[in-house]
C-alpha cells in the first residue's frame, strides 16, 4: 500500500465523517432553527405553562414560526414569563394577538400557539402579549369535571 493511497483513503474517511455529521445536523436535528438568522422576541405571561420547555416550538395556524427562548418565574405577579424568538419574516401579528399553550396530540409535546387578533398595529420586538391562556393541566380538568358532576346531582 503506497502512502499516496493511504492518504486518499484517510481523506475519504474524514470527508465521509464530515458528510455524516452534516447529514445528521441538517436532516434529523433542529439546526435549521438555529440558522434562521433574523428574528424578533416577544414576551407573554402565563399562570401555568404546563410542560413547556426552552426551544419548544411557537406556531401560528399550525406552522412553526419561532421557538421559546427563555422561561422565568416572576415571584411578584406569580406568573411564568415566556420569551419567544419569532422569525423576522412573520412580523405582522396584531397587538391583540392571543397566546395559548397547547398540546400536540394526546401525549405530545406542548407548544405555544398564536391566534392573530384584529388590530391595525403590529407587535414589535420586545412587546408583551397580553391575552394568554394557560396550559390545561389534566388533574385540574378532571377536578373541575367531578365538581360540576357533583353540582348537577344536587
Amino acid at each position: 500500500m503506497t502512502s499516496r493511497k493511504i492518504e486518499i483513503l484517510v481523506g475519504l474517511f474524514v470527508a465521509g465523517a464530515i458528510a455524516a455529521f452534516f447529514m445528521l445536523a441538517m436532516k434529523v436535528s433542529n439546526m435549521s432553527s438555529y440558522s434562521g438568522g433574523e428574528s424578533y422576541s416577544l414576551t407573554a405571561n402565563f399562570d401555568n405553562i404546563g410542560g413547556l420547555k426552552v426551544r419548544s416550538p411557537v406556531s401560528a395556524g399550525g406552522v412553526t414560526i419561532g421557538r421559546v427562548s427563555d422561561i422565568q418565574y416572576n415571584s411578584e405577579t406569580y406568573e411564568a414569563v415566556i420569551r419567544m424568538d419569532i422569525d423576522a419574516q412573520y412580523n405582522r401579528f396584531p397587538v391583540d394577538t392571543a397566546a395559548s399553550i397547547l398540546t400536540s396530540g394526546l401525549l405530545g409535546e406542548q407548544y405555544v400557539g398564536l391566534e392573530p387578533g384584529a388590530e391595525e398595529d403590529y407587535l414589535k420586538d420586545g412587546d408583551v402579549i397580553d391575552l394568554t391562556q394557560s396550559a390545561l393541566v389534566l388533574e385540574q380538568i378532571i377536578g373541575q369535571f367531578l365538581y360540576s358532576q357533583g353540582d348537577k346531582k344536587e
Binding site: S3, L9, V10, L24, V28, Y34
Partner: protein, 259 residues
C-alpha cells in the same frame, strides 16, 4: 485468614501501582503528541490502520443496529398508534447512546486489540528497544501517533455509525414497513437538538476515544513480552475498554442529560 488479607492488600497495591504507571504513561504520550506536528505522515498512517480499517465493521453494524431499532420501536409504538415516532426514537437513541457506545465497543474489539497486539509484538521483538538504541523515542514515533489516531477516529466513526444507522432505520421504516417518510424526518427535526443531542454524543465519543486508545496503547506498552503475555494484554484491552466505556457512558449521561 491473614494470608488472604495480605493477598487482598497486595492486589490492591498492584492495581494502584499499575494505574499510576498508566497515568504517567498517558502524560508522556500527551507530551509526545506535539512532535507529530512535524511528522504528520505518521499520524495519517495510523489513521488509516486505526480508523479506515475499522470503518467497514462500523458501517455494517450501524446499518443493522438502525434497522433493528426501527423494527423494534415500530412493534412497540404501533400499539399506541404512535408509529410516526419511530424516526425520532431511533435518531435519539443513536445520537445519544448507541452511536458513541457501540462504536467504542467495536473500536475496542477491532482497533484496540490490534493496537495492543502490534505494540506488544514490537516490544517482544525488541523493535522498541531497537528504536531507543537508534536514539529514536518510541513514545513519539510509536505511541503518540497511535493514541492520537484513536482519539481522532472515534468521533468520526461514531458520527458515521449514527448516520448509517438513521439510513438503516429509514430503509426499514419507510421502505419496508411503509410508514410515511414525512414524520420520519420532520419529527426528529422538531425534537432532536443540535447541541443537546448531536454535540453531546460527539463529546461522549471523544471521551471514549481517549480512554479506549489509552488503554490499548498502554496495555501493549506494558505487556509481558511473551506470546502468553501478549494474549493476556489483548484480552485485557478489550475487557477494560468495554467496561470503562459502559461505566463512563453512565457518568456522562447523568451529567449531560440530567435536566
Amino acid at each position: 485468614m491473614i494470608d488472604r488479607l495480605a493477598n487482598l492488600g497486595a492486589t490492591t497495591l498492584a492495581a494502584f501501582e499499575r494505574l499510576g504507571r498508566a497515568s504517567v504513561f498517558l502524560l508522556v504520550v500527551l507530551a509526545s503528541c506535539t512532535s507529530l506536528l512535524r511528522r504528520p505522515s505518521l499520524l495519517v498512517k495510523q489513521l488509516y490502520s486505526v480508523g479506515v480499517q475499522t470503518l467497514i465493521i462500523v458501517i455494517v453494524a450501524g446499518l443493522f443496529v438502525g434497522m433493528v431499532m426501527a423494527l423494534q420501536s415500530y412493534y412497540g409504538l404501533v400499539d399506541f398508534g404512535a408509529e410516526d415516532s419511530v424516526g425520532v426514537m431511533v435518531v435519539l437513541s443513536l445520537l445519544r447512546e448507541l452511536g458513541p457506545v457501540v462504536t467504542a465497543l467495536l473500536f475496542a474489539g477491532r482497533a484496540g486489540s490490534a493496537l495492543t497486539a502490534e505494540i506488544g509484538l514490537m516490544k517482544a521483538t525488541e523493535q522498541l528497544s531497537g528504536m531507543e538504541m537508534m536514539a529514536v523515542n518510541p513514545m513519539q514515533r510509536v505511541m503518540a501517533p497511535r493514541f492520537l489516531a484513536g482519539v481522532i477516529s472515534m468521533p468520526l466513526l461514531a458520527t458515521i455509525f449514527s448516520a448509517v444507522g438513521v439510513l438503516g432505520a429509514y430503509l426499514v421504516a419507510v421502505q419496508m414497513l411503509g410508514l410515511d417518510y414525512g414524520p420520519f424526518w420532520s419529527q426528529p427535526q422538531a425534537k432532536v437538538d443540535l447541541y443537546d443531542d448531536l454535540y453531546n454524543g460527539i463529546i461522549k465519543s471523544l471521551v471514549f476515544g481517549v480512554v479506549a486508545a489509552w488503554i490499548a496503547v498502554f496495555e501493549g506498552y506494558d505487556c509481558v513480552p511473551t506470546s502468553e503475555g501478549l494474549g493476556q494484554a489483548t484480552t485485557r484491552t478489550v475487557v477494560y475498554s468495554s467496561l470503562a466505556v459502559l461505566f463512563l457512558d453512565f457518568i456522562l449521561t447523568a451529567l449531560m442529560f440530567s435536566k
